[in-house]
């Protein structure tokens, strides 16, 4: 890049900083690669309650509710995937927490070398999104009802087909070739039966057997199960950041194991060329235990993202499309919440929140 272009870019940067520093509704700040604050706009001063002089060059983890691990995780994701967007909580100078829509992007020098990160936080205190969540819940309930009715209607004729085959099998004088064909029909009927069973599993209001459990123990218990499905030559690095002394939750250990096996297996399968799988647990809003599972895999296109929790929807070639819908149901039955963020070729993040016991 020539010198005059560099100077022009620098002037634009300075102008932009002046403009951004006037915006009070958004907190705009920047950090260097070490996570120290290098820019703190007027909106940041307004939202966080810190003055620029107090906080400049200090560790930005001061602003994060999860402390250092929250900031490290977010910057790690931005470094790997280019961008991070989420609804999280940040910390004011008086220690109180407030919800924000946070966007973090890479800050690069004119030679495209990563020099730091830009963070933009929009205060969303008092802004809820009940309409969307209710729509999703109603949609899932309607699908669940439809699927349950369908499964019932399929099971009746399937029962008759299987029963008749069973009776035919014992008929005398059946030739070997007819017997062979009956075997094939029986096997195919069995295949339908298995599929319907999975569909019923999705629709079923399975009563969780609630115990007081530790989410970290659930996660630790599924890792060996998931790792044995990992391809021997796959080059996936796993990082675990399990929060210490997390409050316990009321949960069904087996059902939650099923959720994390599904999510972790999906993550491995999305990284056939290798990548990074991260698992984080933390406490948020003094109400929830949060589990974040992120991968740097194939990701999911934006137009498919809203459908991933629907039954029979799969972005995988050989997927039945029931795994995530079962996960969704289990988490909802635990009075929790599951959300997904994804970008093609960059990766996918699942955020699960489960209430404290």
């Amino acid at each position: 890049m020539n010198e005059s272009r560099k100077i022009a870019d620098k002037n634009i940067d300075a102008d932009l900083k002046d403009i951004m520093s006037c915006i009070k509704e958004y907190a705009l700040f920047a950090v260097n690669l070490e996570g120290n604050i290098t820019y703190f706009g007027m909106g940041s001063e307004h939202l966080f309650g810190w003055s620029k002089n107090e906080i400049i060059f200090k560790d930005a983890s001061l602003l994060f509710s999860e402390g250092d691990s929250g900031l490290v995780r977010i910057l790690g994701e931005v470094k790997a995937r280019g961008r991070y967007e989420a609804e999280i909580e940040l910390k004011k100078s008086n220690g109180s927490l407030f919800p924000v829509d946070l966007t973090v992007t890479q800050l690069k020098d004119p030679d495209s070398k990563l020099t730091g990160y830009i963070l933009i936080a929009k205060d969303i205190t008092g802004i809820e999104k009940p309409g969307y969540r209710m729509f999703q819940a109603e949609k899932m309930a309607a699908i669940s009802l439809l699927a349950s009715g369908m499964a019932h209607e399929i099971n009746n004729p399937l029962f008759v087909i299987s029963g008749r085959l069973e009776l035919l099998k014992d008929e005398p004088g059946i030739s070997d070739s007819v017997r062979q064909n009956l075997g094939i029909i029986y096997a195919q009927a069995d295949r339908i039966r298995n599929l319907v069973d999975r569909l019923l599993k999705f629709t079923r209001k399975s009563i969780p057997h609630l115990d007081t459990i530790s989410i970290n123990e659930v996660i630790e218990s599924v890792l060996p199960l998931v790792l044995c499905h990992k391809l021997p030559d796959s080059n996936v690095a796993m990082e675990k950041h399990l929060g210490q002394n997390l409050p316990v939750i009321k949960g069904d250990f087996n059902q939650l194991q099923e959720v994390f096996v599904n999510l972790l297996r999906n993550a491995y399968q999305s990284m056939p060329q290798g990548g990074k799988l991260c698992i984080y647990t933390s406490a948020v809003k003094e109400k929830f235990v949060q589990v974040i599972i992120s991968d740097t895999g194939l990701g999911i296109p934006a137009n498919s993202l809203k459908n991933v929790f629907l039954p029979f929807f799969s972005t995988k070639k050989d997927g039945a499309g029931l795994g995530l819908s079962i996960c969704y149901n289990i988490i909802i039955n635990h009075s929790g919440n599951i959300e997904i963020e994804s970008e093609p070729d960059k990766g996918t993040t699942f955020i699960i929140k489960l209430p404290f016991a």
């Binding site: 499964a151 019932h152 029962f159 069973e166």
Partner: protein, 126 residues
């Protein structure tokens, strides 16, 4: 002696299949397509067991189970359903004192062996 079994299911093909399968198990089978007729028949005739579908037109299998058990707590009633293993339904059936619960999605051999087992347990209790 053959067990007298009353099968209640609204689908003719299911009734016919149960008739053949249970005959092979030395049962004398009577079939009906709805719960109203079943409740009437139970007033007039004695059976060793009732195999009742849960989803029936009119009076549901669940309501029929409740009514049967109120009058004849000793009569074994085994519920059968296309909804498969559903903990909510099972809990409701238990609440109304059913003697067994069978999903139509189970393999046929398992359906028959479960029916025989539930019937034996119910009879042993008497």
């Amino acid at each position: 002696m053959a067990n007298k079994v009353l099968v209640v299911d609204d689908e003719a093909s299911v009734r016919e299949l149960f008739t053949e399968l249970l005959k092979k198990e030395d049962c004398a089978v009577t079939t009906l397509s709805n719960a109203e007729e079943a409740l009437d028949l139970l007033e007039k005739e004695c059976f060793d067991a009732v195999l009742m579908d849960i989803k029936l037109p009119g009076i549901s299998g669940m309501e029929a189970l409740k009514k049967i058990k109120e009058k004849r707590p000793q009569l074994p009633v085994i519920m059968i359903t296309g909804f498969g293993y559903d903990e909510g339904l099972i809990a409701k059936c238990k609440e109304y004192s059913c003697n067994g619960y069978i999903g139509k999605n189970m393999p046929i051999s398992q359906i028959i062996s479960s029916f025989k087992m539930f019937l034996k347990i119910a009879k042993d209790k008497k």
